[in-house]
Amino acid sequence: MLKFLIIIPILFFSRSTFGQTCCSGGVPLSGNIGFIGEEKGLFQFELSYDYNFLNTLYFQNQKLNDNSRKRTTQSILFKSGYNISNSFSADLLFSYVQQEREINQFNNINYTRTRGVGDAIVLLKYKVHGISNFNQILLVGLGSKVPIGKSDLKTDQGISLSADLQPGSGSYDFIYWGHFQRQFKLRPTLVVLSRIIYKQNGKNDNYLGSQTYQFGNEFQSLIGVGDIFYIKNLSITSGLSLRYRNTSFDKVNNVRLANTGGEWIYLAPSIGLSINSFTTLNISPELPIYTNLIGTQLSTDFRLNTGLHIKLKNYKSIKTIKTIKL
């Protein structure tokens, strides 16, 4: 069961990969899915809070001296995962989203906020046995984003809001997911991992009543390292990851929309405190270290994700391993 312990650092990285529904805001759905666990019958839950703050205006990779616009996306995410067998597992994610837009210009502050249920994700994962062994795991997954969030919110005057202010996207998306991790005999708690996510976005066929809107397809890859340390009886998991993200143009009526899409590299340290053998409190800030956008766009300055992760089975085995370690 030692390998079960290795899972713990991996949990942090699931928060470090996220997919915004738009360059200028967005809901962190696709990257927040994907529990790592391989034992049949394992249930995992996580309730997390995600804060994404955008205040820097870019032209391509050049920062513009204009911080008059702010966008924040705050999300409450509930994620659950169940291992159907030793090979197959399924994840389900629900979200509740608040989008804010603030423009501080000419001594006026113009503020718009939307709030509501966001979209959901289902992901089915499979462990590739030919590659997976005691030291390493390869998981592949296929999923879908289900548009249960509203994408047609209007102001109280009845004015339709733009796509990136809506809590939902209005489209069914496909998600292709892959995860590889490896630990080492010399230090079994040390894990290196890599993850790839591709989100192929569908169309919202009811955008502004008569149009289609399609967010740009998104590719993410992540590499990271994590380890567990102990301070007295407290187990602390720390990790560091580097995430590359690339999104293509959004499209309106199948035509490319200017000032959408781009590529980013983020650096994300993470830390987790094991409250007990089956509950972990995680926190992971994320900073962009490279930004290159198509046209002129607001981009993320800072992101924070924190959550409480609970496993409802097999915690005894973790406790046993900790005892051995200690």
Binding site: L92, F94, N110, T114, Q157, S210
Partner: protein, 363 residues
């Protein structure tokens, strides 16, 4: 507790939240407004929209997200190295002051509040409809400035005035929401042409420089290939596709009806078209190469002909007068007299079709 119970509870919670979608929108004004306007915005006061509100859309950047300029720095023509000769500008002449407002700047700011000669003017330009219209910013007896509301009607700019926070339709030139709803704004004549043609007409012109207080790359058109292709970002109603959607046409509005004149009706020299529309005799002068069209009422029974190669003079008449692009007699017995300008401007074809359904096209 069984795990599936937890999932069920959360699913029920999510479903119960489904009716909890909230939209909040507000404007807070500081006291030291740089434009000396006072805004009495009360978020709880709602007015009736005079246009179909279901056809008003939030463009995305938000109110003032596209920042209007006020009194931007002006350059001599020779110093405006960022402009190419083929770049389009909106030009004004007032007394001895001659100023050009390039599309390159207006694409990013949409409104320039300024004063030229006797005019307190807002140069409004909507990049999505290609319409450039000058507005007298003395509204209801008070000088104000206009800002970009971030809203669009038929894909067209909706400015707001900073005195009352009322919302205006650019193409309609009237207030469509707020305290001043139903009021109209006085149009101030602008001429749209290329930078080269404008410099030929007015070599001493000043022009807005690229060093505004905002950090933008003015050499990049912010809408991709929007101005060249047959697609729109926002719905318009009705969509008239008798002509290419982005073809620039000169529209003349009389009695709330409009007629469109195409550049293809003019040759690569100054051409005079005389036409009758809504009972009025019209003079339309254009040049497809020099890239301008202007129009006047022929209300003094003169017989005109086009003049070549003497810009800004474009017309002469049977009395020996010579008239410029503003309709002012620069030579002859009627020196200083002015032909009556039409209510007209250049815009993308689709915008004319949306605001003036089934408008006539000059053949």
């Amino acid at each position: 507790m069984k795990p599936y119970i937890i999932i069920l509870i959360f699913a029920i919670f999510i479903i119960s939240c489904d009716d909890d979608n909230v939209v909040v929108s507000s404007t807070t004004t500081n006291n030291n407004n740089q434009n000396n306007d006072t805004t009495d915005t009360d978020a709880d006061v709602f007015y009736e929209w005079l246009i179909p509100v279901e056809e008003v859309f939030d463009g995305g950047p938000g109110k003032d997200g596209i920042p209007a300029l006020t009194n931007p720095m002006l350059l001599q023509a020779a110093d405006a190295n960022y402009l190419d000769n083929n770049d389009l500008i909106l030009g004004i002449v007032s007394g001895s002051e001659i100023v050009a407002y390039p599309h390159k700047i207006l694409d990013w700011h949409e409104i320039i509040n300024t004063s030229v000669g006797i005019h307190h003017i807002s140069v409004t330009y909507c990049p999505l409809t290609g319409t450039g219209i000058g507005w007298n910013r003395t509204v209801n007896g008070k000088i104000t400035t206009f800002g970009v509301s971030g809203l669009l009607y038929n894909s067209n700019l909706i400015p707001y005035d900073r005195s009352t926070d009322s919302y205006w339709s650019q193409i309609r030139s009237d207030c469509v929401y707020g305290e001043l709803a139903g009021n109209t704004v006085e149009d101030i004549k602008l001429i749209e042409t290329t930078w080269l043609t404008w410099k030929i007409m007015y070599p001493s012109t000043l022009v807005v420089g690229e060093n505004t207080i905002f950090n933008r790359n003015y050499n990049v058109y912010p809408y991709g290939n929007y101005n060249e292709e047959e697609w729109l970002i926002f719905p318009v109603n009705p969509l008239d596709n008798r002509l290419p959607l982005k073809e620039r046409v000169h529209g003349i509005i009389i009695n709330n009806k409009a007629k469109a004149y195409r550049f293809s009706s003019f040759l690569n020299q100054n051409v005079l078209i005389t036409d009758n529309f809504e009972g009025s005799e019209l003079l339309i002068v254009g040049n497809s190469t020099k890239n301008f069209i202007v129009s006047f009422f022929n209300d003094n029974s003169l017989v005109f002909e086009a003049v070549q190669d003497q810009l800004p003079i474009i017309l002469s008449d049977n009395e020996g007068n010579k008239w410029d692009v503003w309709g002012v007699a620069l030579e002859g017995p009627r020196l200083g007299e002015q032909l009556t300008n039409t209510n007209s401007f250049i815009g993308y074809w689709f915008s004319w079709g949306a605001f003036f359904p089934d408008l006539e096209i000059y053949q």
